[in-house]
Amino acid sequence: MTRATPPSSRRDGFSVGFYKLLFMAPTILVLALVVAGPLLYSLWLSLHEYIITYGMGDLIWFENYTLMMSDEFAGVSWVTMKLTVIVVVLEFLIAFGLALLLNQPWLKMRNFYLVVLMLPILMTPVAVALMFRLMFNPNLGIINWVLAQVGIPEQGWFGDPDLALATVVFVDIWNETSLMLIMLYAGLKSLPQDPVEAARIDGASSWQILWHVTLPMLKPVILVTLLIRMITALKSYDLIYMLTQGGPGKVTETISFYAYRLGFRFLDIGQAAAVSFILLAAVVALTVLLLRIMKEN
């Protein structure tokens, strides 16, 4: 049976393409207003000298972007990269382990565990940060109290340059692992069981099944999960704002927090917009990669 080819024009003289465009026009218009408009405006701002206190200054083209060459920007980029790599890797390992565990047929009360493990992602990062700020409070927090019971001296946590980033990573893992867990668990549940059964009949061990059957089949899901988490980690801001304000010194200052500081503390909208565009470029690059991988798989 063959499908009829739709007519390229209608009796009223307007082409189908015209009607497609006409019906999509409201959506395109709304998108232009709420997405493209602000983006273009901030691009325009990034090309100007604009300190709010003094008002809009001259067009300086890409001078704000030369900030990228500064030690300061290199420092916050390095922190962002460290934070991203550490949280993505650790969260993936924990989430994948938990997803495998939840996927075991012998596990009872699976839904209960799932609900409990999902709780952190349901909480807003601000609430999570406040909770951990109190728990890690060097003088009043329960963590130091517990450590003191076993003879470990009080730690400064968010105030210790050697521990601050690690402590932020800990909080991030607690808050964000659930997202990866749910994606990986959904991926595992959707895998066909026939190849696993066939491998088992052929005498493959559990480890061999995991390495040679499950992981290759799950690869697209893993890649998408890692990329989505990398994109969100690159934009880390809320936990940093609530937990450390980028300190001590600048040891936990990410690019997003740096952009915030330029915009809201230094009131330098031009530079803040430029930094935001640099971050946007990194996120877009990752998104393109993500789309390409999804297409290939």
Binding site: I51, T53, Y54, P138, G156, D160, P248, R261, F264
Partner: protein, 433 residues
């Protein structure tokens, strides 16, 4: 004219203002209006919430008051102030935002209103009018509450015979409060060892906490951020380097654990939980240290002026935003909030009065005896420079302190690294011409 006479006149003026025409004015311009206010979560604001219904009854206006944490205030205000019609009708302005707000034309001058209504600004401590009332000779704000800083210390410990004997043995002199920053640092380190507590509770968190605290060290040794006549950066001086060196030394060797991530709430908590002997902090922490529900050091704390030359002085001032919908009603509210009766109610609730006569009121001093030291603190205090980009100065100095405290950079290098930024902050500033 003596200050007492001036104060008396001020009180009389305030009384007359409250009792007669002012209330009629309020009803005439405020009836049916809504005033939106953004306040900080501090005792003065809490007290104001309690008496706000009085203004609503007098004026017929509805007050919509929002109190938020300090760190949120500036970033909430700026977008509102840059809009053509703002969200707020009355603002409280931190002293180091004053220059920025005036340059950006975000707040209205008040001189004409002050003159028209005969408001007596001489009731305020002159230092507070300088730091948060006038900018380049024009009055933009009326001081709402002050945040003088100085030395909070455990009087019960320093008064003990055991402490004083050990002090004499260590320092070869009878006990006395430290007179210089160097003496303070020696005392802090030794007091920590002697008591087993932190010698000093410190707030090293970026940006305001560390800057507010460390600026006291800077001013104590006679240092400053700029030469206030030429507006050239002046942080690269032996005084400033020594001040930062002492601060870093205390942070490392005398402060409570986690001090580098602590803010002034954490300092208050360390003191309240009997975990520290001293702190260079805000006097407004005193009421919370005296609250038996949350403090173990009730009646054990005392306040003394900052050792050395000067301490940091700041204040919050009432202002009317340029984009306020009802500036006349905003002004009526400010007059009411600063009237004698309301100012005293705020003070008795633990606020930090700006009107000098309150500090001479017997009932007030009986309720808050430590506040008798405020006059002394104000006499040896100065504010951050009144400049358009003082908010950014705080950020830059926080970067210097962070560089020293977290990265271990030596103070001279950290200051040298910030010289260019400091110079750029004053460039083209209309307030410094």
């Amino acid at each position: 004219m003596t200050r007492l006479k001036k104060t008396g006149l001020g009180v009389t003026a305030a009384l007359l203002m409250t009792a007669s025409g002012a209330l009629a004015d309020a009803a005439a311009v405020c009836q049916g209006k809504t005033l939106n206010l953004l306040l900080e979560t501090v005792p003065d604001s809490t007290a104001l919430f309690e008496v706000a219904p009085e203004f609503e009854a007098l004026s017929g206006a509805k007050l919509n008051m929002e109190a938020v944490n300090y760190s949120l205030m500036h970033e909430k205000l700026v977008p509102s102030l840059t809009a053509s019609s703002g969200s707020y009708d009355v603002l409280v302005v931190d002293s180091y935002w004053a220059g920025e707000f005036v340059t950006a034309n975000w707040i209205l001058p008040l001189d004409e209103r002050i003159a028209a209504d005969g408001v007596d600004t001489s009731v305020y401590y002159p230092a507070l009018m300088d730091v948060n009332g006038k900018v380049k000779g024009t009055t933009y704000m009326l001081p709402f509450w002050q945040y003088a800083m100085g030395m909070l210390y455990r009087k019960d410990i320093t008064d003990s015979a055991e402490f004083q004997a050990a002090y004499k043995e260590k320092f070869g002199r009878d006990w006395r409060l430290p007179e210089t920053l160097q003496e303070y640092a020696e005392l802090a380190k030794w007091a920590g060892e002697f008591t087993g507590k932190a010698g000093v509770a410190m707030s090293g968190q970026r940006a305001d906490p560390v800057v507010m605290e460390a600026t006291n060290y800077l001013f104590s040794l006679g240092g400053d951020f700029y030469n206030r006549e030429t507006w050239e950066p002046s942080l690269n001086t032996p005084e400033a380097i020594e001040a930062i060196t002492i601060y870093a030394d205390l942070m490392k060797n005398a402060a409570q654990p986690g001090a580098l991530g602590a803010n002034f709430d954490d300092v208050a908590n360390a003191l309240k939980q009997d975990k520290a002997v001293m702190a260079i902090q805000f006097l407004f922490l005193m009421p919370t240290l005296q609250d038996p529900k949350e403090s173990q050091v009730v009646d054990k704390m005392a306040f003394a002026r900052m050792p050395g030359q000067d301490s940091l002085l700041g204040a919050w001032g009432w202002a009317i935003p340029t984009n306020a919908a009802n500036p006349d009603c905003s002004w009526e509210f400010i007059k009411w909030a600063e009237s004698k009766d309301v100012a005293m109610k705020r003070a008795m609730a633990g606020g930090q009065p700006t009107q000098a006569w309150i500090y001479e009121d017997a009932a007030y001093l009986e309720r808050w005896p430590a506040m008798s030291a405020v006059g002394g603190a104000l006499a040896h205090a100065k504010g951050l420079p009144v400049m358009s980009r003082a908010t950014q100065l705080v950020e830059v100095f926080a970067e210097v302190m962070g560089d020293v405290l977290a990265n271990g950079t030596d103070p001279a290098t950290a200051i040298a690294n910030a010289e260019d930024k400091l110079a750029r902050l004053t460039r083209g500033d209309p307030l410094l011409k």
